[in-house]
Structure formats: structure tokens, C-alpha cells
């Protein structure tokens, strides 16, 4: 079973190798003429003011939290979905309850105005 | 419920948008495949400036009156001139048009009374070296060789000028006699080079109207696609 993951590994090394080789070939071909201005960051023709690495509000903090919650929940749903056939109505009701809680959480967040990006 | 309605109308409108672009997918492209095909340039088009010469004698029509130089808003025209001691006429010794600062506005052509300078439909003049864009008299004359033009401006003045000097140039037979030329012989300028511009202007107007009328009676020869979609046919014609 696990041997299939060997293929995955081959693909992984293969692609990374391919990209690195391509980049190396390009390095052989291309010119390199760095200059003071060229190594500056591009900012529409002006010299940039300050670094971009400042602490700023990305404003999807709460979305990220929601994402974590929901993504974990979906992981729970996967096994349920795979064996749904054997679970029958019991599975359906169970999952309805589970999803209802999730949906309630979503609605709660919605009502709280969290889903509004400001 | 409003939300559901919004949802469906939103989807509907998105799909309708797809149809608009999809409709164009089947249409024929309107693109001009440039090096292979070209538009036929309209007669009035204002491309590169050339100097016209008389189709008979091959001499430049320019009489070095400097009007174009004075009319030029950008100072792109520079003329040096000398007087022919025999004919007592000015002729240009240097006629430079600096295409790097020319604005292609057509004022020189309008100011000219002798059909000497014209803006043409030519447009392919890119160069590798900037100095090649400053055209001297030879280049300008060369460019003007194949330019067909209807002498619409001031044949009167020209004729008059020619008749003024009977011994030198008057021998050549004038085939354009049917023009309005000799109608007002009293108005012919005695000294073209120093003539105030206004006088000519008035006359130009008079003769202008005449020639324009003539033009309008002619079958439409400056054929040019009327709308973009129709250019298709033109394109094919010119492609042949």
C-alpha cells in the first residue's frame, strides 16, 4: 500500500529536480548585470519608502480562525461520507445534527458581523 | 427571499454576460494584419511631410517663400534660399524638415500657395539613429516623387508667377489651362517672396472653393472604409 507513496516521492524529487535544473540552465544562459537601481525594489518607478515588512492588519484573522474550525470539521465529515452507505438513516441524522451545530456557528458569526471585512 | 432572488438573477446576469463575449468568439476578427495588409490612407491624411515637384520638369514646386517656415508652430522647417540671377526667382538651397519635432499639424501645407509641401499618407519611417529623422531637401523631394496630388491651391498664383517670367520658363506647354488660372491676372503677385500673406490668402479662398467643388463632383476616388466593419473589404482590395 505504502509503495504508492513512493511514486509520490519520485514525483516530488523529480519536479524539484526539474525546476532546479531549469533554473541552472537559465543561469548558464542569461546575463547578470546587477546595478544599484536594479536591485532596488520596484515601486512604480519611485524609490520605495521603508520596508514592506511592517506589522499590519491583514484583517482576515477571524476568517483564519473560522477556517481552522471548519477545515477540521470537514476532516471529520470525510470518514462519515466514506462509510455513509452502511450508516443509513442513523448516519444522516447524526450528521444533520453535527452540521446543524456548524451552521449555527456560522450563522452566529455572521450575525455578530465577523464575516464583514472592515 | 430577496437573497434567493438576488442569487438567481445574479447567476442569470453572469451567464448573459458570458453570452455577450461568446457571441464575439464566433465573429471574424477586425484585425489588420499589418505587414501583409494595409489600409488605404485617406487623401487628407497627415503623415510624413514631403516636397512636391512638378511632374513635368521634375523641379520642386517650392519657391522658397518661407511661408511654411513661418507657419510652422514647432519650428521644424528650416529653409535657406538664394535668388536665381537669371530668373530673379528665389529657390531653396536648403530645405530641412526636422521630423523629430514636427507635429504633423498640416499648417505648412495650408500656408503653401504653390503645392510645394504636402503631408502624405506615408507613415513607415522608423530608424535606428535619431539623426536620420532630419530630412533634407533631396530626401523630401524623393519622398514626394510618387505623391499624386490634385493641384488644389493657387494654380492662379503659380501660373501668374510663371507667366511673369516668360523667357525662362514660359515655354513649357500648360496643360492645366482649364483651371481658373487666368481669370484674375491683375492680382498676380509681383514679388512672391516678400508678398504679404493676406493677399494670397484671399485668393486662395476663391480658388479653393472652385477646386473643392470640382472634387465633390468627381466620383469618390479617395475610397476609404466608412466604418470599421467595412474596412474588411478595403483590406482585401489593398491586399491584392
Amino acid at each position: 500500500m505504502l509503495d504508492k507513496y513512493l511514486t509520490v516521492a519520485v514525483f516530488l524529487f523529480g519536479t524539484v529536480g526539474f525546476v532546479l535544473v531549469t533554473l541552472f540552465v537559465a543561469k548558464l544562459l542569461r546575463p547578470a548585470r546587477p546595478s544599484e537601481i536594479k536591485l532596488q525594489n520596484y515601486e512604480c518607478g519611485e524609490s520605495p519608502v521603508g520596508s514592506s515588512w511592517v506589522q499590519f492588519n491583514v484583517r482576515f484573522y477571524i476568517f483564519a480562525l473560522l477556517f481552522v474550525i471548519f477545515d477540521v470539521e470537514t476532516v471529520f465529515i470525510f470518514p462519515w461520507a466514506v462509510v455513509y452507505d452502511t450508516l443509513g438513516w442513523f448516519g444522516f441524522i447524526e450528521m444533520t445534527i453535527f452540521l446543524a451545530i456548524l451552521i449555527y456557528g456560522l450563522v452566529y458569526a455572521w450575525k455578530k458581523g465577523v464575516l464583514k471585512w472592515v | 427571499m430577496g437573497m434567493v432572488k438576488d442569487f438567481f438573477s445574479g447567476i442569470y446576469n453572469l451567464v448573459v454576460g458570458l453570452f455577450v463575449t461568446g457571441k464575439h468568439l464566433g465573429r471574424h476578427a477586425i484585425t489588420l494584419q499589418y505587414p501583409k495588409e494595409r489600409w488605404e490612407m485617406p487623401e487628407r491624411s497627415r503623415g510624413v511631410v514631403v516636397l512636391l515637384s512638378d511632374p513635368e520638369t521634375g523641379e520642386l514646386n517650392c519657391t522658397a517663400c518661407l511661408l511654411c517656415m513661418k507657419a510652422c508652430p514647432t519650428g521644424a522647417i528650416i529653409i535657406d534660399r538664394e535668388k536665381n540671377p537669371e530668373t530673379k526667382r528665389w529657390f531653396p538651397t536648403k530645405f530641412v524638415i526636422d521630423n523629430t519635432i514636427c507635429a504633423f499639424c498640416g499648417l505648412c501645407e495650408e500656408s503653401c500657395n504653390f503645392d510645394a509641401i504636402k503631408l502624405t499618407g506615408k507613415y513607415e519611417f522608423s530608424v535606428f539613429d535619431q539623426s536620420e529623422l532630419i530630412y533634407d531637401m533631396d530626401r523630401l523631394a524623393e519622398l514626394g516623387r510618387d505623391v499624386k496630388y490634385t493641384p488644389r491651391k493657387k494654380p492662379a498664383a503659380k501660373k501668374a508667377a510663371e507667366q511673369k517670367k516668360p523667357p525662362a520658363e514660359g515655354k513649357k506647354p500648360d496643360e492645366k489651362k482649364e483651371d481658373t488660372a487666368e481669370k484674375k491676372p491683375e492680382e498676380k503677385p509681383d514679388k512672391i517672396e516678400t508678398n504679404p500673406a493676406e493677399k494670397k490668402e484671399e485668393k486662395a479662398e476663391a480658388s479653393d472653393k472652385k477646386t473643392e467643388d470640382q472634387e465633390s463632383r468627381k466620383p469618390e476616388e479617395a475610397k476609404q472604409g466608412d466604418l470599421g466593419l467595412d474596412k474588411e473589404e478595403d483590406k482585401k482590395e489593398s491586399g491584392n
Binding site: - | L66, M69, K70, C72, G75
Partner: protein
Amino acid sequence: MQNEQLVSQLVEKFGAQAEKVELNPAQPALVVDKSILVEFLKQIKEDENFKIDYLSCISAVDYLENGMEMNYHLCSIELRYKLTVKVKLDREKPEVPTIREIHPGADWHEREAWELFGIDIKGHPNLKTLLLPEDWKDGWPMRRDWEGNDDFVKMPEF
């Protein structure tokens, strides 16, 4: 003619302070003193009879020995009046109060007048170069007696 009525009313109202100049029947102009300019503009903006609330343009003119002039081209959106308010300035030390408080749109126009003509806008908080390069040092280029700088090529007279 609407405009003429307007001007006569204005002159009537402001009396000695405003002087009427007839430029063109369609375009009346008033000369006001720079000391009352702000107050004047404010009043004609707020007054129900005039409502001159729209500033089209400000143009400075350099008359050399006759001093300088600021022209405020105003109009009323509602009543369709058109009015030019002129302010005469001393050429040696041209200064004029800012009218940003009344017409925020005057901001850049005033900066431009300062930059190109050297007219000092009193009370303008942001007098820095607008159109010219940041390192411009060659004086006030739009003045009539501006000599030109290294790069300036005068068109030869033909």
C-alpha cells in the same frame, strides 16, 4: 442680461470695495481689494441672491510694470451667473490670501500660481512644488520676464 444685473447688484451691495470692469458683455468682472477678498467671496457664496458657489479656475497674469493680477473665475450653479473677480497685486511682493476655506478646490490652483508666478498665498498650508520638478531652482517660469534656464530653447523668430 442676467450677468449685468448681477454685477450692478454686487456693486451696489459692496459699494466702494468692488470696482466694476466691463470686459465682455458675457463676462463681467469685479476688481476687489485683496484685503477683503476672502470676505467678499464668502458673502457672495452664502448670499441667497448670488449663490456664487462654484470656482472654475484661478489664473494669474503677470502684467510686468502694471503689477500682477489674480483672476478668480466663478459661477453659480443654481442661478447660472458667471463672474470674474480680479485682485491686483504688487509685482515686487505679490501676495494674496488663500481661499481654500471657501472653495477647497482652489488648493492646487493656488499652488500653481505660487509655483509658476511666485505669488505668495497667505495661509496656504501646503505650498510645495506641484507641477515642476522637486529640485526646481530656476525661479518663476511663467512670469513674462523669466529668462530661461540651461535647458530652455527659445524658438527662433522666422
